[in-house]
Amino acid sequence: MYQYDQYDQRAVAERAAQFLGQVERRLSGEILEDEFKPLRLQNGLYMQLHGYMLRVAIPYGLLSSKQIRKFAHIARKFDKGYGHLTTRQNLQYNWLKLQDVPEVLRELASVEMHAVQTSGNCIRNTTSDQFAGVARDEIEDPRPYAELIRQWSTFHPEFAFLPRKFKIAIAGTDSDRAAIYLHDIGVRIVRGPSGETGFQMLVGGGMGRTPLIAKSIREFLPKQHLLSYLESILRVYNMHGRRDNKFKARIKILVDALGAEEFGRQVEAEWALIKDSALQLTDAEVQRVAKYFAPQPYAKLPESDAKLDALALSSNRDFGRWVRNNVTRHRQPGYCAVTISVKNPKVPPGDLSDTQLDALADLADRYSFGEARVTHRQNLVFADVRVDALEALFKDLAALDLGVANSEKLTDVICCPGLDYCDLANARSIPIALEIMQRFTDVDYLEDLGDVSIKMSGCINACGHHHVGNIGILGIDKQGEEFYQLMLGGSADYDASIGAVLGKAFPKDKIVEAVATVLDTYLKIRDSADETFLMTYRRLGAEPFKKVLYGDN
């Protein structure tokens, strides 16, 4: 993975020092909260319901064991002993004291981490595919470009006060595990006319109040133009994005208002003027960064697909199930990628204790070359595990309560912190997630249900990606009480779709029952066990579900 050089290191150290000054001025009263707020947001520090929340950037989700140990240490020393994984591959701490935050940032800087621009109206963490570099269907590893985008976007002096937040995702495969169609800019690695790789540029996707699927404004962009093209998009947005209404300020609104064609025209006009500037990527720089993502020093092993098939049918049913659901084929013979489910009915989804974090660091060292990835489903991936080590790894994970075999199944919920923590929320989301995880524990039932994503948010900001869940739940406030809208048919894949609300919202004590009814209905009307929930919904529409839930009302 990328190693900071002296410049990177100095940049985060200076930023931590700058923030220390800002915190001191806040605590002394020299600056007031309304001046301090955008400054702390640019360092990822939110004021939530119960305390300050720090969002640590994990660039494209990639972590070293050293960094995981640091997370554990910070959780122990400064927080309440745990951290939370987010849908943008970041980690959040919920209980920090303001005066400790500069030291936390220094600790993070010592392991090449930071919280820069994880909040505020600026360019946020660039996210990517959790199987980058190892997936069989990968056209090219997106991570070097994600790192180049990170460096271009961090401390960008022109784009620190955009109309609204800005999120970029990049994917390099045929299946979109990075939800690029739901981002402000989605970058897709594609093959060009002569077989060389380049980028398809998508703009204007997003969820929230106005969910929209991104539009392509450039089918093929040669690689060396990546940064200048991004700069053009950002400049057009900075200058013309709406600033009069917070809920209409994202780039998707501008793209929608102008139309993709006109928006693309403006971008291309700006780009024409800067494409030959110093922003052009040099081969030297691309190679410098790419070499940090060279393949791991794999052992030369025989091909292992048959072995994996056999393990999936293991007489140890729990292990077999885990292999079937949580293990992904790998481009290197003898290796596989393991999804570690951070979805345990006893704790909020995505939460990891300091004990678990320390243990995971050791396991990463032992099983996966000392690295792990955070997924946008709030899980972890060990991307380079020997197939012949799977049984041992499973045992070690199970001992940590991290061996749940539910990847991409119903109980692999995506869930925001919600009203239990978040200042923006209208309703709680974690109790709903826990109720679902606690109710649907029959593993055979879950496997029979197959792949179905349930995603829930405590407010319209959609941090839980509820618009693109096969089953989406949105918490709302009705006269001070919590209600839940149920929507079906969302998808974050390349065939992205926004879920449709079924009908009247359910009270808190009825929503999980409604979900159960939806699932039972699916099982009744699907045409075979091979037809996933989403396929059934797309075939038959919302009607059968509406009817069962609401009768003929």
Partner: protein
């Protein structure tokens, strides 16, 4: 089923600058953690005047003070009107203590 609307009271709340935790202004003009020690103002205007003063001069202690309307109970206490304020006062309703920690 309609219930008789209970009379409203108003209290002042905000976040402690140091910890970010919820703060409530008590009858002695101190900011405290315990919501149910909060001073109750009879009118919103009364409370707002104090909130404005706090916002102007007490920012070292508390950030973003605001007025919160509550429902007065017959027993002389009050209840919060929204889930949000109940959770601020009472803490997260989900497990904070990790099961694997002592």
């Amino acid at each position: 089923m309609a219930t008789a609307k209970r009379p409203s009271g108003y209290l002042l709340t905000g976040n402690f600058t140091e910890t970010g935790g919820p703060a409530y202004r008590d009858p002695n003009d101190r900011w405290v953690r315990d919501a149910f020690s909060a001073a109750l103002f009879p009118t919103e205007a009364d409370a707002k005047a104090v909130a404005d003063r706090a916002r102007a001069s007490e920012q070292r202690v508390v950030s973003d003070p605001y007025v919160c309307e509550v429902a007065l109970t017959e027993a002389g206490g009050f209840e919060f009107k929204s889930a949000r304020e109940r959770i601020r006062a009472g803490g997260p309703t989900t497990p904070v203590r990790r099961p694997d920690r002592s």
